[in-house]
Amino acid sequence: MSATAEILVPGKAGEGEALVLTAPISFWGGVDPKTGRIADVRHPQHGEVIAGRVLFLPGTIGSSSASAVLMELVHNGRAPAALVLHEPDAILLLGLIVAREMGWETPIAVRLGRDAFDTYSGRVRIAEDGALNVSGE
């Protein structure tokens, strides 16, 4: 699979195992900012770690402190390798915008149709220009 996605927030090109979430998540209370582990016991991917993964997000819910959690993940070196969203999420992505202003290296965030999420598995690479590729293809 390959595609070129719209860039939501520019950042470092990223490569990692795809992690496709099957339900929206609340970052505050739902993701441990120290480890990147999905802590919400009700979430279908509970226990998975988002650090270093190419994270496909079908939306966020809950607290407006999602931005603070994402920035904390960046600061702790536990952010996803790249983020893929089906629509811009201003509250979550603010975490990347502010981290960039702090001079920290942030992962790229891109937009892709939600129906395309499931076509990604294994190692995925997202280039700085938004090009998505599955490794080995």
């Binding site: 603070a68 959690v69 600061h75």
Partner: protein
């Protein structure tokens, strides 16, 4: 439509100081939201000073180092510490030091040391129709709905960036068209005695949030103004169970003189007829504890208690000694009144733990128990306490909370919907 900044905004965004950083953050958010321009704002309420990790402290300190100052009135939501020293916070070093540095940085930026989630009861009440940028979900919903000022839900970092620039993205609830009701939430089938009771509003709020989500709705069938503390409880519960940013109550809230006006002549997309059965289910859903013989604590004050709510608490305790503590969370605006006439001492002598500047679900205050049971009259505490404190929750009226605290075991008075 793409974002266009005016020459002054562009000049600020090009600067390397704290104001430049704030302007770029506001502009980037506006671009993501699809806002065509920025609009001036009259005030902010800032939720970003609650410690979630070191990066937030470093951000606030960078703004201070860059010489940034807020340019509009800016109140602060709760922090992670009780700076008034009323209660003991179990936050350990080094987090404690970083939380204190964060609170200090926001003070240096020029924010008011209000440290409350009920700024609207601490003298911060923007005018009807004015544009503001508020954070904290219950404050947002009160500001929009009860005061009729216009704000979206401003998340961490964007709130302070708006305060420093005096600008906000022009989108969402800032636009009058987006404020009209599309759904009707009809409570006229509920008994007047239930609607007149204190428990009605947090329960209805919780139900409302779940039923309408983020759609704008108007509540009909309310014949008498329930009072400001009831609207506060309704909004807080609704914003916890759903992404509610604005509600209307026909004949009560300022933008809804009647149903027709707030529907703007259109037919409602749906009418939700609230039945006693729906209320019973919503009420049951606020409790997570199974039948239990005892409780470990009572927590009230989410949103922070008003002076009037302390009056009720004092009247209900009536000088008795509590078997388990009542954690009463409030802001310094209410504490000042309590201290004036010795009431704080009387309440504390009964076994009330007054928590100021913060609250029991955002920072560790209550003892860590394996399977503690907490009773509360707050829909918001009922929602967040299990996840954030590990306590199971029983929901009850304030009167039942007080009786239960006196006896150390749950007491419920039935009020049929």
């Amino acid at each position: 439509m793409s974002l266009s900044l005016n020459p002054e905004e562009q000049a600020i965004a090009a600067r390397q100081d704290g104001a430049g950083m704030a302007m770029r953050i506001v502009a980037e958010s506006a671009r993501l939201l699809g806002a065509p321009r920025l609009i001036p704002i009259a005030s902010t309420h800032i939720d970003g000073a609650l410690y979630h990790g070191d990066s937030g402290t470093l951000f606030a300190e960078k703004l201070v180092e860059g010489g940034a100052k807020v340019v509009v009135r800016s109140t602060l939501n709760v922090g992670a510490l009780d700076l008034m020293g009323c209660s003991r916070i179990r936050l350990e070093e080094p987090q404690r030091g970083m939380a204190r540095r964060m609170m200090e940085a926001y003070r240096k930026l020029g924010c008011e040391q209000s440290w409350t989630c009920a700024p609207y009861q601490a003298g911060h009440r923007p005018a009807l129709g004015s544009d503001v940028a508020w954070g904290e979900s219950n404050a947002v919903v009160f500001c929009n709905s009860v005061l009729g000022a216009r704000t979206n839900r401003y998340g961490d970092f964007l709130d302070i960036a708006c305060a420093i620039t005096g600008r906000a993205p022009d989108y969402g609830l800032h636009r009058p068209d987006n404020r009209r009701a599309r759904l009707v939430f009809d409570v006229s089938h509920l008994s007047p005695s239930f609607l007149g009771s204190e428990i009605a509003w947090p329960i209805l709020g919780s139900l409302y949030g779940r039923e309408v989500g983020n759609a704008i709705s108007v509540v009909t069938g309310v014949t008498a103004h329930p009072g400001e503390d009831a609207l506060k409880a309704f909004g807080a519960a609704a914003a916890s169970s759903g992404a509610v940013g604005l509600f209307h109550i026909a004949g009560v809230t300022p933008e809804a003189p009647d149903v027709k006006a707030i529907l703007a002549g259109a037919e409602p997309e749906a009418v939700i007829r609230v039945t006693p059965d729906m209320v019973a289910k919503a009420r049951a859903g606020l409790s997570t504890a199974a039948a239990t013989e005892s409780i470990d604590a009572v927590a009230i004050g989410s949103p922070h208690l008003s002076s009037a709510e302390f009056d009720s608490l004092e009247r209900l305790i009536a000088g008795r000694r509590l078997a388990v503590p009542i954690y009463a969370c409030t802001g310094r605006h209410a504490l000042a009144l309590l201290e004036r006439d010795g009431r704080r001492k009387r309440l504390e002598a009964s076994g009330v733990v007054i928590v100021v500047d913060t609250c029991v679900v955002v920072t560790p205050i209550m003892p860590e128990l394996g399977n503690g049971v907490l009773m509360t009259n707050s829909g918001k505490f009922a929602h967040y306490a299990p996840g954030n404190t590990g306590y199971a929750v029983l929901y009850a009226s304030l009167a039942d909370c007080v009786e239960s605290a006196v006896l150390g075991k749950p007491v419920f008075t039935d009020i049929a919907a």
